[in-house]
């Protein structure tokens, strides 16, 4: 029997705005399955986003949804979680939103280790504005603002998150659809700030400029570059050249922020 996604979708809100071939819909389905796996009560689940194609996701989900300003999702979400720690807080957005304009909020959410799950849909481009390069656009790639090739080095989101203090960091791809919900669910169940980077494609503004002849070519790239962490452990550096590790990349236990603040309250009250 087909999976029932519709129970989690707001009536009348589909079709979504995403282009044919975009991976965002695959990720949204993975998110819905993960929410089901975790038995999330949608009344007590906030889904917060910034601005961009990926950030339109919350509007489709039947939950407490907050579509904020560009780059600010993690900070809005921090306010929600801090004020009402009993809520499950999910943040969704793209690579530009999360790591360029929102980079400061992103690293500080990681540092605080506040119990939220941040799903970054990384398609390496600013899609909504027509394909300008983002901090995750490969060096040398073509974008509407790098027609001579991108001179910028790229962020490794997972390394950034680990360095900033996130206690659960995982990476998947839109091609490996069956893994997405497992990674997100594990992130939700983890106590602390979880970052789930999902490598994604944007055939409309990235693929066309960068010699991907079809969506299938873009998906095939995701399939080819992904190496599960367990498999990577048996590979040589030469074999790993140009590959990207997928799966759970980092997991540690560290005090969670709202629990730490609960201790502050106890100390202030002399309890």
């Amino acid at each position: 029997m087909a999976y029932d996604y519709e129970k989690s979708i707001r009536p009348g809100k589909l079709p979504h705005i995403w282009c044919p071939g975009c991976g965002h819909g695959i990720i949204m389905k993975g998110l819905i399955r993960a929410m089901d796996t975790c038995n999330l009560d949608r009344n007590n689940t906030a889904v917060v986003s910034g601005i961009g194609c990926a950030s339109r996701l919350p509007g489709y989900l039947d939950a407490c949804t907050l579509h904020t300003a560009h780059g600010r999702a993690a900070a809005f979400a921090t306010g929600v979680k801090m004020a009402k720690p009993e809520m499950t807080v999910l943040v969704v957005g793209g690579d530009g939103d999360g790591t360029a304009i929102g980079g400061n909020h992103f690293i500080h959410a990681c540092r605080r280790n506040i119990d939220m799950t941040y799903i970054i849909m990384n398609n390496s481009i600013y899609g909504m504005t027509g394909g300008q390069f983002s901090p995750c656009t490969p060096t040398g790639a073509l974008a509407s603002t790098t027609v001579y090739g991108n001179p910028d080095p790229t962020f490794d989101i997972a390394k950034l998150a680990i360095g900033a203090g996130a206690t659960f960091v995982a990476r998947g791809t839109a091609y490996h659809a069956a893994q997405i919900d497992k990674l997100i669910a594990e992130g939700i169940q983890h106590k602390g700030l979880a970052v789930i980077e999902i490598l994604d494609d944007c055939p409309t503004t990235y693929g066309r400029r960068n010699k991907f002849r079809s969506v299938i070519d873009m998906m095939k790239r995701l399939k080819d570059i992904a190496v599960p962490v367990a498999a990577a452990a048996k590979m040589t550096p030469e074999q790993l050249e140009g590959k990207v590790l997928t799966g759970v990349l980092h997991k540690e236990e560290r005090p969670e922020y709202t629990e730490q603040y609960a201790e502050v309250i106890k100390r202030a009250q002399g309890v």
Partner: protein, 377 residues
């Protein structure tokens, strides 16, 4: 029973007023000369189970404020000059999404870093027009520690009642001077809380204004699942580009303030009955202006003072009346001409409108005001 009185700084009075109003969430970022508001609340909020969070920057602080407000919190944020410039983006978000919250701006000089420890009143037009797009603003300008305490309570009440951000514009002098403040007993001052929806979650629309210009606001985590966005939206909260819906919403969000001026505006009128020269003054500058009025009266000059406690929406009607009565309106401000523009706009040439501006980090003294009055009369 003896009233509880305390000697406190303006910034402390602001924090105490917030607590009286039911503030249970503070997000901010350290900046002189506003930091004491944050310091006091970092101590006091956890004592009552409230939350204090120091964010990574001023934008993040306002973001957290809005997020908290959606969970039902009564939230405060304090900042100064450059911090207020950063907050403009999300002040606009709070306007369009109709989020009740209070932002205190302790004004210093500028632009940019300017003189962080010196007083200024140079953010008065920014308070109204700083964020992009058409919107309404409620901006309060108290002038004493007692008034800061009480006006902070009023700021929360207005934010809750009109479901919008309210700004308190202090200046460094008011914020750092110490005065005796009589603290209100529980129940003594009115406390207004936002209207909650009376319809079921299934029927709830967060911007349904059919029963009043201010739609009830539900709370995240209370069984109401709704969508909030900074995009223009329809009554159900979802984005729309339909011209007639966008237009109606934009206008309603301004009209909810402009149709309730009697409830929102508040002024002090000092010796205005027979006044021929009127000082239009606010904040710490009004304290020099009051002294100047008293001195001028001793010399037989019919001087008076009009002091807005609600600066925005601007008291157009009353200032227009005064411009018919007075020979001159003199506006002392610690800026090079901000609110005087509004006075000129409203006076429409019916009387002389003069400005005394100072941006050297020193207060405007009564002598300067007296000299100017004698010059224009």
């Amino acid at each position: 029973m003896a009233k509880k009185v305390a000697l406190m700084q303006g910034n402390e009075a602001c924090a105490q007023g917030a607590l009286y109003a039911g503030c249970d969430f503070f997000a901010g970022y350290p900046i002189t000369p506003s930091t004491e508001v944050a310091e006091v609340l970092s101590i006091e909020l956890p004592k009552i189970g409230g939350k204090f969070i120091q964010m990574e920057d001023e934008i993040g602080a306002t973001a957290a404020l809005i997020g908290a407000a959606l969970t039902g919190a009564k939230a405060l944020d304090s900042t100064s000059g450059p911090g207020m410039s950063l907050k403009q983006e999300l002040l606009g978000y709070a306007c369009i999404a109709e989020i009740p919250c209070v932002i205190v701006n302790v004004q210093r000089g500028g632009p940019s870093t300017g003189m962080p420890t010196g007083p200024g009143q140079s953010d008065m037009q920014q308070a109204m027009w700083g964020t992009h797009g058409d919107h309404a603003a409620i901006v309060l300008t108290p002038a004493s520690c007692q008034e800061i305490y009480e006006e902070t309570v009023r700021a929360f009440n207005l934010a809750e009642k009109y479901r919008m951000p309210v700004q308190i514009q202090l200046d460094e002098i008011c914020a750092h001077m110490r005065e005796r403040v009589t603290l209100a007993e529980p129940g003594e001052l009115e406390i207004i809380n936002r209207e909650k929806p009376s319809v079921s979650p299934a029927d709830y629309k967060p911007y349904d204004a059919t029963k009043g210009m201010v739609p009830p606001l539900a709370t995240y985590g209370s069984g109401y699942r709704f969508h909030v966005t900074g995009l223009n939206k329809a009554a159900d909260g979802f984005p729309t580009t339909k011209a007639e819906l966008v237009d109606a919403e934009e206008r309603r969000q301004i009209d909810k303030v402009m149709f309730n001026l009697a409830d929102i505006q508040k002024n002090e009128e000092y010796l205005l009955d027979d006044a021929e020269v009127i000082l239009f003054a606010y904040g710490s500058t009004s304290r020099s202006a009051r002294y100047a009025v008293n001195e001028l009266r001793k010399e037989g000059v019919k001087a008076g003072m009009f002091r807005p406690l609600t600066m925005w929406p601007f008291p157009d009607d009353r200032v227009a009346e005064l411009s018919k009565q007075a020979k001159a309106i003199v506006c002392p401000e610690m800026n090079l001409g901000q609110m005087v523009r509004e006075v000129q706009r409203v006076a429409q040439g019916r009387c002389t409108v003069a400005h005394i501006g100072r941006v050297d980090g020193e207060p405007i003294n009564p002598g300067q005001i007296i000299d100017k009055v004698k010059e224009v009369l």
